[in-house]
Symmetry: C2
Subunit: 133 residues, 2 copies
Amino acid sequence: MPETIPEDALDLVDEPNIGVVVTIMEDGMPQPTPVWIDRDGGEIVFNTAKGRVKHRNMLRDKRVALSVLDPENPYRYLQVRGTVAMTDDPDNAGIHAMARKYLGTDYPWLREGEERVNVRLTPTDVQYAPPRG
Amino acid sequence: MPETIPEDALDLVDEPNIGVVVTIMEDGMPQPTPVWIDRDGGEIVFNTAKGRVKHRNMLRDKRVALSVLDPENPYRYLQVRGTVAMTDDPDNAGIHAMARKYLGTDYPWLREGEERVNVRLTPTDVQYAPPRG
């Protein structure tokens, strides 16, 4: 069942912080990679390209974990585990919106033939460590 | 077989950056948590306490992934996957050394009866993304 990200942790997702998303390799090994993240209500969204390792991993296993550290205080961090749903991003609206959040411009690094994918992570387990003094 | 962390990525481990270590839950789900990290030659060391989720996970499955982002440039990051060996830290020398690196003092948060463990991660797969302009 879905779990809720606490109110006082939402800024970690809403600010342009880099998250570490962890997908699962075929042999069960975790594969962490940095990603831009955003939020749609209680769900985390991110974007990737077809054919990348994490995309192939998520096609095989929908379970994903995400970690976000507060850059000002790394003892304040959010961990979200859950399952993902992927949809095509044929006009690149998803990756451009993400780039505007992080870069202030449309995504400048699209490659010829690259096909982007919107990923939506529904939390099933949320852990939040508030600041430690 | 062990893999080597590139020379120009070593500062990410040598500086007091927070790493995200990912262990594997019993059901295969990745469990990312922030950790203090250090280096012994080509191996990554960190420290945890007996009974914590990540300790229990590593007792069951020695495979661990680690991600370190450059706080000045999160597009510069190091990913290390490998296997861990754990040894007791009965006099807390390991956690105190780690605290001196990160806090400049001995570890101040030991709890009554807490038993610490030194963890050594031998890389089997290393990925390093140099700065992106």
